[in-house]
Point group: D2
Chain length 169, copies 4
């Protein structure tokens, strides 16, 4: 049986503390459900925090790396390092490989992952206190974007949306 993969995306070097705290809890939750966590794999920001959260519950973590090797700048909480050597073009692989995408926080890279996900008709949950960006994405794809206001709501929505995503796909 194919494993369920949840992508958690968010800023790297410029992540805010609340985004990383949320990412850590989301990673924990994903592991508790028996799902696999997929991130961009670097040892900074939301990617790193989500991977650490998943490992705290013995979850399985995948990192889709932008560089050409599995060591430099890679989160120690990544079990399986997929080495693309494709820079930010790997953002497309991140979202295509995820059954649903959860974005914590905002930045140019995160926004590229959200929009590539929407282009590929994936469902995306946004946990982000910036109303303008939430409005922009909701308007861009009303049916596939889910704006949530709290960690609790994010986890509840993840479960509901995953049912839709895996039925639809």
């Amino acid at each position: 049986m194919r494993k369920i993969i949840i992508g958690v995306m968010g800023p790297g070097d410029k992540a805010k503390a609340t985004d990383m705290e949320n990412a850590y809890e989301i990673g924990k939750f994903i592991a508790q459900q028996g799902w696999v966590l997929l991130t961009g794999g670097r040892n900074v920001g939301v990617m790193n925090a989500a991977s650490q959260g998943a490992k705290s519950e013995n979850g399985l973590t995948i990192g889709i790396l932008p560089g050409d090797n599995n060591t430099n700048g890679v989160s120690e909480a990544v079990d399986i390092a997929i080495v693309t050597d494709m820079g930010n073009a790997r953002n497309s692989i991140n979202v295509l490989s995820s059954d649903i995408v959860i974005a914590c926080g905002m930045g140019a890279g995160t926004a590229s992952e959200i929009t590539l996900a929407l282009k590929a008709n994936k469902k995306v949950i946004l946990l982000n206190d910036d109303e303008e960006s939430n409005f922009f994405f909701k308007n861009l794809s009303p049916l596939n974007v889910y704006v949530v206001n709290s960690l609790v709501q994010a986890l509840k929505t993840a479960r509901e949306v995953l049912v839709l995503a895996t039925n639809v796909d």
Copy 2:
């Protein structure tokens, strides 16, 4: 001497008439300056219109194609077809190969190109009457986003920004 390449991005199948009219004129202008036009290469929407505009002035047009061949669904106004077979991951190549990026209109694919451009520290001109999206991108990268309100302003800004981009890079 390396040729100057201007990327023009925008919706495909769902492009609005004004976006295509603007794209056609921008393509013409690019050719008149002796610059090379780069688009996503498909025979629809903004990509197609910009390429047709450039060809109306005997400009050189490049299309970075998502598919695996240079015929199906390719704009007849593309001179040089770069065949990636990479789907939307080719959006990263579109913007990395452009000295500056001009976006006409909005959609998930266009937004992914704008954000990938900003992530790569490229300068982006937005010609789009949707204030929310303009605000979102300007906020995301205040120094690299130029919001313009008319075709005339777009062309004037393109010339100014190109000087900055080619000096900086």
Copy 3:
């Protein structure tokens, strides 16, 4: 701790029966060692056989898919489907993500994986009864190519080469 990943490459639709039998046994062996199996993920040929062998021993299997979804044409023995939508350009990811590469059989796609691996300075074990191709690859990269003549020798060599590969990298 990062998991050890062994890539098993070989023909798809045109695989020979002996290549698939060898791939099945190699997949079993990889799982028995606690290593992760990585293949091109399709439900044909060497990729499919290796994945089935690994699953017969409850191993973990990754498939790096050329297409744009995780269902059509994907081996049922793949646990984790990485969806690239990059066609054969994904062959580069296959080998960069593998600590060592084992090739069973020969074809244009397999040869591209071997040569991309050698270009990236990866160690490659060839289990293939075609002397001309063995000679060609050995000559191309004498230090990184290991030609073996039997399944037993392939498994023994895999263990030895992995020590070299993970020390060097």
Copy 4:
């Protein structure tokens, strides 16, 4: 009308003098026919020599670059720099974008381009004095590989094969 693109592939840093001399002449010939030259774009070896040859006849030259910018390590004889930031995965784009591929000399990277071309059913001309490698590729794809022994024969074959390639495709 879509321009005809001829890909010339060969070693970079380790190219032999005769391979570069041949590449220069092939580049000249391509430009004389009014075709576009496509290479891997770096300022070394066969890529550089072919591009210089084409520019000596005022041809148009495209470089598909592995890095993330259009300046570092790029041949000065490249007119149009396509920036992929994809490392050797860009080899797939090189061959998919070429109507036919001509390989001068041999190495792991060149062999990956030849095999990716054959996997994509492209016609490949080999100008290389190494009989073992010629035999290997000819055996891998008897109908699509053309082994030539001299520059004169390479140019004659290029014209003939191009007719087949553009009729077939």
